[in-house]
């Protein structure tokens, strides 16, 4: 009997000693993180395969800002810059195709990612960034730099229980990196804009903003059908009649499904912090919000394929017939979607 007790003691001591050697417990259980869902928001999409943890978010935030991932000095934050609501004016690919960079805001509620909806999972989008067009990552170098780093080995251990990242394959390491970053991105929640406060009856709008609100949320402008409150997006794909004959990237969702009926359709982007995310539309074709409003007012191509029925206004008119003042007020109202508390939130800013 006594032998058994000694044996157990020895094992316990060994386990303890072993733990001291690594400076870490053998198994680390990360702390679950509870996302603070604002009132009136639907349940967020939180996949079970990548649960939010305090440690995962901490790691993700660091990686988001760290050019360690690239060989060209870039980090996610190069194109998703806090000053532009985690967006950047325009991305021009080597092929010459221009893409407007979407803001990172309320991503936990977006059912389809990328302009054309080609990415259903937030947790995988970052994988493309290791490629030559974005980070041009050198994987052996990345392994080496992470291993030598004074913080990352501990952060990976805490977040994912990885004792030694060199035991991972390239794919596995990339996946852990983008999982951590996705956890961080899911915490980037905006719900403190003037429009939010107005909807919660906490503040009043100016008469001009109120008039813009009226245009946005009635049949006068009919914006709410696709950019409804609180997400300012909907889980649909719509052709708004930007092009009468879309080709290439302008074909949008069609490039994903190859269905004729999806030509020219895009997922309506959130309009949160829209003031900071110019230029507008998937290809950044409009430089200002005034131009966007003028498009909805008088620039809709009625003969576009699959133009959304919602673009046909009463009396079969394509366009809004807004007055100069109504257009200006609509822009003023869209500026109430600016959330300075979000933009200045230190939790989302660089940890360096």
């Amino acid at each position: 009997m006594k032998k058994l007790i000694y044996l157990s003691l020895v094992i316990l001591v060994m386990a303890y000693a072993c733990q001291k050697g690594n400076k870490l417990p053998a198994v680390f259980t990360p702390t679950p993180y509870q996302l603070n869902v604002p009132k009136g928001f639907p349940p967020p999409y939180l996949p079970a395969y990548n649960p939010l943890t305090v440690e995962g978010i901490r790691l993700g935030r660091m990686l988001y800002y760290d050019p360690i991932l690239s060989t060209n000095g870039r980090s996610c934050s190069s194109c998703h810059n806090p000053g532009y609501s985690y967006s950047y004016p325009l991305f021009v690919a080597q092929s010459g195709v221009k893409t407007s960079v979407p803001a990172h805001v309320n991503l936990a509620w977006d059912p389809e990612y990328l302009w054309d909806g080609s990415a259903p999972k937030l947790d995988l989008i970052g994988l493309a960034d290791f490629g030559p067009e974005f980070f041009n990552t050198n994987m052996p170098l990345l392994f080496e730099k992470l291993k030598k780093h004074d913080k990352y080995p501990l952060l990976f251990k805490e977040a994912f229980n990885i004792d030694d990242i060199s035991t991972l394959s390239n794919d596995q390491l990339q996946l852990k990196i983008v999982y951590a970053i996705s956890q961080f991105m899911r915490t980037m929640i905006s719900s403190q804009s003037k429009a939010d406060k107005f909807f919660r009856h906490e503040v009043n709008l100016t008469p001009e903003e109120m008039d813009g609100f009226q245009t946005f949320f009635t049949e006068r402008g009919d914006c709410f059908h696709c950019h409804g409150y609180p997400l300012f997006t909907s889980n649909t794909f719509n052709n708004t009649g930007l092009d009468s004959m879309p080709t290439g990237a302008d074909l949008g969702y069609y490039n994903v499904t190859k269905n004729e009926t999806d030509k020219g359709k895009f997922s309506p982007p959130t309009l949160r912090n829209i003031e900071f995310t110019a230029p507008y539309m998937h290809d950044g074709r409009f430089a200002t919000l005034e131009e966007v409003v003028e498009f909805y007012n008088s620039g809709v191509h009625w003969n576009a394929p699959n133009i959304d029925p919602l673009m046909t206004k009463p009396a079969k008119i394509y366009g809004l017939n807004l007055t100069v003042t109504q257009k200006a007020n609509l822009v003023k109202f869209m500026k109430t979607f600016t959330d300075t508390a979000f933009l200045n939130n230190p939790d989302f800013r660089s940890p360096f």
Partner: protein
């Protein structure tokens, strides 16, 4: 002494065995009905984005979205009193999940029919009265226009003199609630789920009692009280068993 170890070992193992039970919410109620809803335009089944239907007024049309609420779904008893089986349902003609809905915990017995509203009754039709799901949020009727929810979004295209235009038959506001009563003997048996089959004939929206014309009545009716009311009146007989 040794028996203690045996006990500990057993305790350890039993502590970790999980009972195999269905995850919560998936156990189906035993006594109830299965509401099967299908869609057609007279004899032609509903398919998305096909110009194969014709309204009573003579326009060829296609459908790309048909979502709506049913509310106060109740079985009618022989003495014409009601047994509510569900407060509301969100329906999507192009989503198989909402075309076959299990409604549970219904008292067994003989019923003579089904009563419900197309749309939300005034108690439910208030801004923020429904849970904030993506579907419910997308159905919101702006506060500016009276608040509450869209009862229905029926969208598609129609052809007029060779050109195609969009139509948006959006219904909402308390006055446009559509009461529906369907009569048929329905027997709910203890321990079984009785299937009910119901059809929506989308052509009925455009006729009976009044012919609805996209050009004269409107292709976009939200906020147009006269057009909404006319369209809603046509909705009373869109469903048949």
């Amino acid at each position: 002494m040794k028996s203690i170890y045996v006990i500990i070992v057993i305790a350890l193992f039993t502590a970790c065995t999980k009972k195999v039970t269905a995850p919560p919410g998936t156990e189906e109620p035993v006594t109830g009905l299965v509401l099967n809803v299908s869609y057609h335009a007279d004899q032609v089944p509903l398919v998305a984005d096909s110009f194969i239907y014709t309204t009573q007024a003579g326009y060829q049309y296609s459908v790309n979205n048909l979502i709506y609420y049913l509310s106060r779904i109740s079985l009618i008893k022989q003495d014409s009193s009601l047994v509510e089986v569900k407060d509301y349902l969100f329906m999507d003609a192009f989503n198989a999940n909402t075309n076959k809905v299990v409604l549970g915990a219904i008292p067994a017995g003989n019923y003579i029919g089904l009563k419900f509203n197309i749309g939300l009754d005034p108690k439910l039709n208030r801004t923020d009265s429904l849970p904030t799901t993506v579907d419910n949020i997308n159905m919101q009727w702006p506060m500016m226009m009276g608040g509450g929810y869209h009862f229905m979004k029926f969208e598609g295209y129609f052809k007029d003199q060779g050109k195609s235009y969009g139509f948006n038959m959006h219904l909402g506001t308390d006055t446009c609630l559509i009461p529906v009563k369907l009569y048929k003997a329905i027997t709910i048996t203890e321990g079984t789920k009785t299937p009910i089959f119901m059809n929506m004939n989308i052509n009925e929206w455009f006729r009976n009692p009044a012919v609805f014309d996209f050009n004269t009545d409107g292709n976009y009716i939200m906020g147009n009280v006269v057009a909404m009311k006319k369209f809603a009146n046509n909705g009373v007989d869109v469903f048949k068993f």
